[in-house]
């Protein structure tokens, strides 16, 4: 069901995962990342209690084997099951190397908002806050703009933040940003994107430090 934009973001994010590492994928675009991983030493953790998540074909689906998005998954050789308190102990305790998460908004210091919208009732938070405080590295995958065309990368979030923790990297269909000392740095343009387009669609202040091999196509 995922569209081309989502797939391009997910496949770019996959390049950031080099095993051995333990990775937790959020709902949405992050979930797509798994299919771009060949590395046998990238181990997927899901907070509902499984280390060693893998794909499952329809015929082998088990109603009691799902990921945090309640989608059917499989288990790898060497997988293990544990309870919710143990699972979040792993997350908060710093035992998950990377969390890849979606956002509703993020600010120019690297704080994100991905759990609540003002004016609507706050009905769910799930594991988002735990992953943000606990994962060693947080990578955000998101479309650059909201459905109404407004930038998701803002000077300040208008939605409630998920954590005071600063994320490490943001990947959109237009660009890759790293967060350094609470400042966004554009390090890569996605195929077909231009710096002008990124500037136009980004409210947040960011610096530009394109890696060499992106300089020609980008500017």
């Amino acid at each position: 069901m995922a569209n081309e934009i989502q797939e391009s973001i997910a496949s770019r994010a996959a390049k950031e995962l080099n095993g051995p590492c333990v990775v937790n994928l959020g709902i949405g675009i992050p979930t797509l990342v798994a299919k771009y991983i060949d590395d046998q030493q990238v181990y997927f953790h899901t907070e509902n209690g499984l280390l060693g998540v893998t794909d499952v074909d329809e015929e082998h689906q088990d109603p009691n084997l799902v990921n945090a998005g309640k989608l059917p998954v499989g288990e790898t050789l060497g997988a293990s099951f544990f309870n919710s308190a143990e699972s979040f102990g792993m997350i908060r305790g710093g035992h998950v190397d990377v969390a890849i998460l979606g956002v509703l908004q993020m600010d120019q210091t690297g704080k994100i908002a991905n759990w609540a919208v003002p004016g609507k009732n706050i009905m769910g938070v799930g594991g988002a806050m735990d992953l943000l405080v606990g994962a060693k590295k947080v990578i955000i995958t998101t479309t650059h703009t909201a459905k109404d065309g407004s930038s998701k990368l803002l000077k300040e979030c208008t939605f409630p933040i998920t954590s005071t923790r600063i994320v490490d990297m943001i990947i959109t269909e237009l660009a890759v940003f790293e967060v350094k000392e609470k400042q966004l740095e554009l390090v890569e343009l996605m195929p077909g994107a231009t710096l002008d387009e990124v500037r136009e669609k980004t409210e947040a202040v960011f610096s530009v430090s394109l890696k060499q091999d992106h300089l020609e196509e980008g500017i």
């Binding site: 899901t46 907070e47 509902n48 209690g49 499984l50 689906q61 088990d62 109603p63 009691n64 084997l65 799902v66 309640k70 288990e75 099951f81 544990f82 309870n83 919710s84 308190a85 699972s87 979040f88 102990g89 997350i91 908060r92 609540a116 009732n121 706050i122 009905m123 769910g124 938070v125 799930g126 594991g127 988002a128 806050m129 735990d130 405080v133 606990g134 409630p160 933040i161 998920t162 954590s163 005071t164």
Partner: protein, 229 residues
């Protein structure tokens, strides 16, 4: 004195109006569907339900919600059932939202004689409003109190007749911690075996936590919830 229970009615003997009840499961996965069904048939109300979700629309705890038997929900992700939001807007239900890690840790604390604890999760967010903040080794934490219940309704895979439990895949989730944190703990299971049939090394919930065991008759399948037996 046997822990084996004949049916849902017997299993819920100790549930009273106004009780706080923990219900295992992550959505319908690992939820004690047979016991929830019995709860919908029992004449009680004003319940406080501690569960990650309040079921799905018209399923699991969602039925109990529709019956207006729930006074308050404590959980992490009510979004999975749109009816919860509607009931909340109509003022029919109170909600307490906790990060999922805080929910599970507070329940564990309640079961382990811990009065409360400090977590980093939620610091500086709306969910930390009015919560005590404390700096420990240069990092900010917030205080979270332990959670306990009168009754815990949980789902396991196999029980032996003593009450030892093992779980099945991701249907484990909140069940083992809830098994520790209520005055009365009732487990619904797929299979009941003799003591010694479960390996002492793989028992997840030792029998001292479990008060009653019921064979499940509502089973989650790929085709939805079906009734057996």
């Amino acid at each position: 004195m046997s822990k084996l229970l004949e049916n849902g009615t017997a299993a819920l003997k100790s549930v009273r109006t106004g009780d706080t009840i923990m219900v295992g499961g992550f959505g319908l996965i690992g939820a004690p569907l047979t016991l929830i069904d019995a709860l919908t048939e029992k004449d009680v109300k004003d319940l406080t339900i501690i569960s990650n979700n309040l079921g799905e629309k018209g399923k699991g705890l969602g039925i109990l919600l529709g019956q207006k038997k729930i006074k308050k929900g404590i959980g992490s992700y009510f979004t999975s059932n749109r009816d919860v939001g509607d009931a909340y807007r109509r003022g029919e239900i109170k909600l307490e939202l906790l990060p999922q890690g805080t929910l599970s840790e507070s329940i564990r604390a309640g079961g382990a004689g811990i009065g409360g604890y400090y977590t980093k999760t939620g610091v500086g967010t709306e969910l930390a409003k009015n919560k005590e903040e404390r700096e420990i080794n240069g990092e900010l934490y917030i205080f979270e109190p332990a959670i306990r219940a009168n009754v815990a309704l949980i789902r396991a895979w196999k029980a032996d007749t003593l009450g030892n439990l093992v779980y099945y895949k991701t249907a484990r989730n909140f069940n083992p911690v809830m098994a520790t944190a209520a005055d009365v703990v009732i487990a619904e299971v797929d299979k009941i075996v003799e003591p010694g049939e479960l390996s002492p090394e793989e028992i997840v919930t030792p029998h001292l936590f479990v008060d009653g065991i019921l064979l499940a008759t509502k089973i989650l399948t790929n085709e939805g919830v079906v009734t057996h037996g």
